[in-house]
């Protein structure tokens, strides 16, 4: 029986080449999109699942409260680990500290500035499941002067030689022996590293760092005993914090609590400012909905073409019934046909996927694990075949198998009229999805353009960032600055702790306006040249100046928001008042000036209070360049750098790029949505093309008669197009409010955003209508131009 159905389905396929091709093409594209998005989503949800003890591993986090909002901070100090282990021996089995580092590693005469070094406790490889190819995971990091490399890193230094036992130089002054080679870190790990060095190597240099409590620089992971209750443990943390930090908190007025976060929750906690790999859950959901919508559009094509063609098959259905087929048999025949279609489309999709994988990697920005060896991939394909087969096949199957045999044999079923309403409804649905996607793209493009051209309140052009990522440059930053200033192409240089768009520390302050109150304010530690270099605007008081010898130690600038936060009605009122960074400064500083608010964070957040304080904690140099001769300027700066830090490669970035990076997620959303909305409307139009060519064929005689009676070609084109364009227009109108709702939500993510304009919706609807009109019109014109005598004769 099945063999019979199959051979019949194949014959049918061949007979209806155009419709079959449209169906297969649509389904193939739809399923390919689905597979791509499936691989992405599966990878996102697989983060950190590969650790054997993963269920019992947690990261220790501090939680601070500011303006009623809780902020999780993943950094704690080195002293937490031994304290946790000794205070909770009944619950905590192991503790491992991890700090990400940037080190100069040399072998023979080659040096690399390794940015992906992890310093960790010696049980790193027994807590986490990063398998070692060579070496013993329990002892590899026991000796402070040892190092474990990943496979790829080992290849980089030693080629095909055996690296075990070789000596690498660490930051020029220490020798590390290679004691292990680990497999490369999987893509789906939030911790990424190229080499692991024992944390103990720092002890001789920084003995205090290991014992001081308020010095939060590293991650601490705990592995709980298998039967431990994490909730119970957290309840005991307040006592713990009080024991070790009570006095400190009493002094500073700050207060933090402690929590533990499950390992597999870290990846999606993208609000943790921690420089490890994070995913965006929202983006995953957007991807997921797109995948489903596109597949739906493709399925609708299948349903529509199958039901439209139903009358062609009514004779077959009638005959089969006369010959004894019961409804169930016909149902299974038609569903089998659609399952066959789905299977064929899936096979083509896998091939297409393989072809598109490099482009997809480019779009994502990283390589997904190979899908050939992924069992879930095959299960997913099987699921797609079953679901698409049933989804796309069941309605046509029910529809076709319900024909009465007498009527269908007599040819009484009117061409196309059966289920026409249902078909149009589905077209409405397809185009509302397409228009919805187009609206989203239009709004996103506008918002992103708005963000990129927004006046940030400072000058971001021609500003180079050089980070102080090694000891040499940090130590000689003053010399670096002075030498740069001798270059004719350098206008200004400012040393600062965080560039606009980068990280700004938050400290608690007390202030003259209300000495009893403690204010949490963002800080910028810079030299005296920040206002000039960034082009900030002073709205009250004065800029920092060398002329006042005390500015370095006794002055601050604040922004307009800080003045308001501190309770001053006008910026002028703040001038001359004192303010004190409770942990940073022993003495009070005087507010010498107020700067106009500028966007030192992304436009997703409103401008917060900021204190610019001269300080030594500079982590980068911001170099304002002369616009002309940019190329030679860069090489000049490189020469200066080579003098100051000869062992390190010169690396730089530009401030405007840095700012664009803040919207990377949104930009990616925009490009993904653009691509998929093009695909969605393409598939929808494929279906429309099928329907219109079908209508054209079915109405050949009508067109002939009308032409004989004197109708013009235009009238006929209009007649044939009208029927199909109405649902497109209706769909577009439905999409507009839905698009408004979703994009409004999306825009809420920006503190500074565009207004909705009517033309955004009009543009989206216009694009969809135009494409639909082209699709339908081609068929209509073809039908209208045909010689009427010919079409009448064939009847």
């Amino acid at each position: 029986m099945i063999k019979n159905y199959l051979s019949f389905a194949i014959k049918n396929f061949r007979k209806q080449k155009l419709f079959s091709l449209i169906n297969i093409l649509g389904l193939t594209i739809g399923i390919t999109c689905c597979l791509m998005l499936f691989l992405f989503i599966q990878n996102e949800f697989s983060y950190d699942n590969f650790h054997k003890n993963g269920k019992n591993i947690y990261r220790v986090m501090r939680v601070g409260e500011m303006n009623g909002e809780k902020h999780e901070i993943p950094y704690v100090s080195a002293a937490y680990a031994p304290a946790l282990l000794s205070d909770f021996p009944d619950v905590i089995q192991k503790v491992v500290r991890v700090v990400r580092d940037n080190d100069l590693i040399s072998y023979n005469n080659t040096s690399y500035n390794e940015k992906n070094v992890v310093l960790a406790d010696d049980n790193f490889f027994s807590v986490f499941s990063f398998p070692l190819i060579k070496g013993n995971p329990t002892t590899a990091l026991k000796d402070p002067n040892s190092i474990v490399l990943t496979e790829t890193t080992a290849k980089k230094y030693f080629g095909n030689d055996d690296p075990m036992g070789k000596i690498l130089q660490f930051n020029k002054d220490q020798q590390l022996k290679i004691t292990g080679i680990s497999k490369d870190v999987p893509v789906n790990s939030h911790l990424q590293f190229d080499m692991v060095v024992p944390l103990e190597i720092l002890r001789p240099m920084l003995p205090d760092w290991f014992t001081n409590f308020p010095n939060n620089t590293l991650f601490t992971y705990v592995q709980l005993k298998p039967d431990a209750n994490p909730g119970q443990l957290e309840k005991r943390f307040p006592v713990f914090m009080d024991k070790y930090l009570g006095k400190y908190y009493a002094k500073t007025g700050a207060k933090m609590s402690l929590i533990i976060k499950p390992l597999n929750k870290i990846y999606f906690a993208s609000d943790n400012f921690d420089n490890v790999k994070h995913g965006n859950r929202k983006m995953v959901y957007i991807f997921m909905s797109i995948a489903i919508l596109i597949l739906l559009i493709a399925c609708i094509n299948f349903i529509n073409l199958a039901t439209a063609r139903a009358t062609d098959r009514s004779k077959e259905v009638g005959l089969r019934k006369v010959l004894g087929a019961v409804k169930k048999q016909l149902l299974s025949q038609f569903i089998l046909e659609s399952v066959l279609f789905a299977t064929l489309a899936c096979i083509l999709s896998v091939l297409l996927l393989q072809l598109l994988m490099p482009a997809y990697t480019g779009l994502l920005g990283y390589k997904l694990p190979a899908f050939w060896s992924n069992p879930w991939f095959y299960i997913f394909i099987l699921g797609v075949i079953v679901i698409v087969g049933l989804l796309a096949g069941s309605y046509p199957a029910i529809f076709l198998s319900s024909f009465s045999p007498i009527e269908s044999l007599k040819g009484k079923l009117k061409a196309g009229s059966n289920g026409a309403f249902f078909r149009k409804t589905l077209v409405v649905f397809q185009f509302s999805i397409s228009v919805l996607l187009i609206i989203s793209v239009v709004v996103m493009m506008n918002q992103m353009r708005y963000v990129k051209n927004f006046d940030l309140g400072f000058n971001k052009e021609q500003s180079m960032i050089v980070r102080f990522d090694n000891f040499d440059i940090s130590r000689k930053k003053k010399q670096f600055k002075n030498e740069l200033l001798t270059l004719p192409s350098v206008q200004n240089v400012s040393l600062m702790s965080g560039e606009p768009g980068g990280f700004h520390d938050r400290y608690s302050f007390e202030a003259e306006s209300n000495p009893a109150e403690k204010y949490l304010l963002n800080t910028e530690f810079s030299d005296l040249d920040i206002v000039k270099t960034l082009g900030l605007k002073i709205i009250a008081g004065r800029d920092f100046s060398e002329n006042f010898g005390t500015d370095t130690t006794q002055a601050v600038l604040i922004n307009r928001t800080t003045a308001a936060t501190l309770g001053y009605n006008t910026p002028e009122q703040a001038i001359g008042k004192w303010i004190r960074n409770i942990t940073g400064d022993s003495l009070r500083r005087t507010i010498v000036g107020v700067v106009e608010d500028y966007h030192y964070t992304s436009l997703q957040t409103a401008i917060g209070p900021l204190v610019i304080s001269p300080g030594k904690d500079n982590r980068l140099a911001l170099i304002k360049l002369n616009p002309s001769k940019l190329k030679s300027t860069i090489s000049d700066i490189k020469k200066v750098y080579a003098v100051v830090a000869p062992d390190y490669p010169f690396e730089y970035s530009f401030l405007d790029d840095r700012f664009d990076q803040l919207y990377r997620t949104e930009s990616k959303q925009e490009s993904v949505l653009s691509i998929f909305s093009v695909i969605a409307i393409f598939i929808a139009c494929l279906g429309l093309f099928g329907l219109s060519s079908y209508t054209a064929i079915k109405r050949t005689k009508e067109v002939g008669v009308r032409k004989v009676l004197g109708s013009s070609v235009e009238n006929i084109v209009l007649l044939l197009s009208k029927d199909l364009l109405k649902p497109v227009l209706l769909g577009a109108c439905i999409a507009a409010p839905v698009g408004f709702y979703f994009m409004n939500k999306w825009l809420q993510g920006f503190a500074y955003r565009i207004e909705f304009r009517w033309w955004m919706f009009a543009l989206a609807i216009f694009i969809a209508l135009l494409i639909a009109l082209l699709t339908v019109g081609v068929q209509a014109i073809k039908a209208a131009m045909a010689n009427p005598v010919k079409s009448l004769r064939t009847e």
């Binding site: 029986m1 019979n4 051979s7 019949f8 014959k11 049918n12 007979k15 004779k315 077959e316 009638g318 005959l319 089969r320 019934k321 006369v322 010959l323 004894g324 087929a325 019961v326 409804k327 048999q329 045999p405 007498i406 044999l409």
Partner: protein, 225 residues
């Protein structure tokens, strides 16, 4: 074999009510060959549809092989139909996408006959209607006479007790028509009951009995001698 009593079938549209069968009573015995004649619209086809269990009457009784089937649901009708009744149509109604062999095989598939068995029986019956050499051709590649022979083969492949023929020679020339009529006669002689709707007095002469209908009723029954 067939006994219908006071059978009624009325077609209704919004404005018009058409009485297709008006308290019709007919009896056909096993092994009979009956021709039904009458002008267009007299209810012949409706009668044939009801006899073939493709349609149900609005009122009256229909006893088939001793079972009252007038109130059967579609499933039961389909089941009874596929084991007992074969159809021959004026326009042949072969499925264009299937070969001669596959067309004839179809009823056997629906009655669940095993593949090897099917092959044997299809070949037998194709042999009988002398179309074996065309077994792998498609309907479009055959002449009208050949197509109707295939249709007859398909009607009898399940060895039905009753064959319903709706103007079986209507689309054929006289020599092909005679051939088909001869085939039906042969089948009848082997014991199959045949009810045939026809416009042709010539064809009707092959039957044992002619039922003449007008306005949904029988007006005359001729017994052929």
């Amino acid at each position: 074999m067939i006994k219908i009593t006071n059978l009624e079938k009325i077609y209704r549209t919004e404005e018009v009510e058409t009485v297709a069968l008006n308290k019709l009573s007919i009896e056909v015995k096993g092994g009979e060959f009956v021709a039904v004649m009458g002008p267009s619209g007299c209810g012949k086809s409706t009668l044939l549809n009801i006899l073939g269990l493709l349609d149900d009457p609005d009122a009256g009784s229909f006893v088939f092989n001793g079972i009252e089937v007038a109130k059967f649901n579609e499933r039961k009708r389909a089941d009874l139909r596929k084991h007992n009744i074969g159809f021959v149509f004026q326009s042949f109604n072969l499925i264009d996408e299937l070969t001669v062999f596959e067309n004839v095989e179809l009823p056997l598939i629906y009655t669940g006959v095993k593949s090897a068995d099917r092959k044997k029986r299809v070949e037998e019956v194709l042999d009988k209607v002398q179309i074996m050499h065309r077994r792998n051709h498609y309907p479009q590649q055959l002449s009208g006479g050949q197509q109707q022979r295939v249709a007859v083969a398909r009607a009898v492949v399940n060895s039905p007790k009753l064959i319903l023929a709706d103007e079986p020679t209507g689309n054929l020339d006289s020599s092909n028509g005679n051939e088909v009529m001869q085939m039906l006669t042969d089948l009848n002689e082997q014991g199959t009951t045949i009810v045939m709707v026809t416009h042709s007095e010539h064809d009707a002469r092959y039957s044992h009995r002619i039922i003449r209908m007008l306005d949904g009723q029988t007006v005359l029954e001729n017994i052929m001698v």
